[in-house]
């Protein structure tokens, strides 16, 4: 499961890196992705074309995220809003509540079970659920595309530049506001694709984004906000802490060990393992 949470963490982290904003509603974009995927494969495409569904779900969440950014988050950068951090936190938390309750209102508080993407398979001697395998491979493919995009293409390099120095990029002739919008869209699209891939594993219901969000945030904070190698190290250490805690202390408190690790790391290194202190100008 560790790789799957990476999509969430990367989504949040990418947005934070570019815009210095935490998207508390990322779990709801995950949920929307799952709903879109469910609708598509049950009513329009059929199970055989689930991969098209994933793409469309990612596209939908991309558009929605870009729209949300254009309407709600962009004013932060044009000087209308004075309290940036507070504004972003309140607005995204309110957005999370809004989407969650809209989902209950439209779809009802039911759990939908999409059909399986693949039959159970065996890897060596291990019987594995086909859905997990597909989610794992799909995540790796998406991550590979994402990194190729970020490291090799011109636009990806522009994104890296925006996260390093906004005014500097502006002088180089890059439209920062437009890139913000696309970045927010990509971050939410990562979450949406995650939701679509995981739909048969975690099932589809209004609160299905909560668990991945919790893990995603833990990973981000432990690894340090805005740091991409941090995501992988933190994901690994979180997994180790949880299994060690479950083995040696008490297996029923698995959820707590991750948070305990988080508090411990923040106590020693207030900006996470790989994070840089915020620069105040």
């Amino acid at each position: 499961m560790g790789v799957l949470y990476c999509l969430m963490s990367l989504g949040v982290n990418f947005i934070y890196g570019i815009m210095k904003v935490i998207n508390w509603a990322i779990g709801e974009f995950f949920m929307i992705g799952a709903y879109v995927q469910y609708l598509l494969i049950v009513f329009f495409l059929g199970v055989r074309y689930w991969y098209i569904g994933v793409l469309i779900a990612a596209l939908c969440t991309f558009l929605l995220g870009a729209l949300v950014q254009k309407i709600l988050i962009k004013p932060m950068f044009v000087g209308i809003i004075e309290e940036k951090m507070e504004y972003a936190t309140i607005v995204t938390i309110a957005m999370a509540i809004l989407f969650r309750n809209l989902a209950i209102f439209i779809g009802g508080p039911f759990i939908y079970t999409p059909p399986d993407y693949a039959p159970p398979t065996r890897i060596g001697p291990l019987p594995v659920s086909g859905n997990n395998v597909i989610a794992f491979i799909g995540t790796i493919i998406i991550l590979a595309f994402f990194f190729y995009f970020l490291k090799r293409t011109w636009i990806g390099k522009a994104f890296q530049a925006v996260s390093q120095n906004r005014p500097g990029v502006l002088t180089a002739g890059i439209d920062v506001l437009k890139f913000d919008m696309i970045a927010f869209g990509i971050g939410t699209a990562l979450a949406g694709a995650g939701g679509a891939l995981l739909a048969p594993v975690l099932l589809v219901y209004p609160l299905c984004g909560v668990i991945p969000t919790v893990r995603g945030f833990e990973i981000i904070v432990i690894g340090g906000l805005g740091s991409i190698p941090g995501v992988f190290v933190a994901g690994l250490s979180l997994g180790i802490a949880e299994s060690l805690g479950a083995a040696f202390i008490n297996p029923s408190f698995v959820d707590i060990y991750g948070f305990g690790l988080l508090m411990l790391i923040l106590l020693i290194k207030p900006y996470g393992l790989f994070g840089k202190p915020e620069r105040s100008v």
């Binding site: 951090m85 809004l98 309750n101």
Partner: protein, 322 residues
Amino acid sequence: MLKYRFNSVGLLLLLLIAIVLPFYLADYWIHSLTVALYYVIMAVTWNLLGGYTGQFSLSHHTFAVIGSYTSALLIIRIGTPLWMGIVSSCIFNAFISLLLGILCLRMRGIYLALTTWAFAEIVKSYIRMDFQFTGGDRGLNTPLFFKTIDPLPYYYLFLAFAVITILIIAIIMRSRIGYYIRAIRNDELAAQAMGVNTVRWKVFSFMVASVLASMAGTLYGHFIGLVSPVLGEFSEMAFIIIFVVIGGMRSQAGPVVGTISVRFLAEVLRKWPEVRMVIFASVVILIMRFFNGGLIEFLRKVYQRIRHGKDGESVSVFQKME
């Protein structure tokens, strides 16, 4: 001077109305008013922390939960008398908030929000999981404060406590400490340079807010006779933020007005819980986006327009600083 007297007379009138009101209401509405008063206390104290001091804590509801659980556990497991349970839960909470405050001081901005959020989740899942000690999801039955389920005495208890809380916050904000706190929010570096002990006052406001919240939580536990992890859900925190933002952040009366009006609307829309949350969330987004002052600023503008017959100079809450 005249305006000041008018204000105090108006406030006394409001208090009088609040005292007389329950005689004309059904028990159900008294009960909801009491619950609303609990949220008033939470919103007002969070306003001190998140609004005035700028420490965006997301674990405010958790202190209420810790308070109610401490008191309930002491009474049930050890058999302490009720007043001792309440007092010791206060002291315990002061201790915990001191620890968390010291931990959080090293962080700023978004890390504080994330850490307090993590703390809230830890406490919630601990209470959920440790079934034998805390009762798990089923909660604990606590003894009632007045040994009766008639809401009237609880209403007065909460009213008194809410008034005391509002007074405490008002006194703090009018004293030297209030200026320190606002200075910290506006520019922490500048405040430090001017000789304000930012560390001490941040912990101070964190502790005051948490202890008052825990008192409210404890009383609430003894009012409904049940403590359960539901009060520790993140949606409680979201509710507190909704109250404060709709009422108007960084104003004395804002959270009170916001809480009462939103709770009233919530009671009216009780049948459609999703719809009401959708409405509140959209209102919060709209207020944050277009109209920073919230309800209280709106009322002030309307009042000015009636009073002066024209649009008064528009002073946003952010510039006004009071």
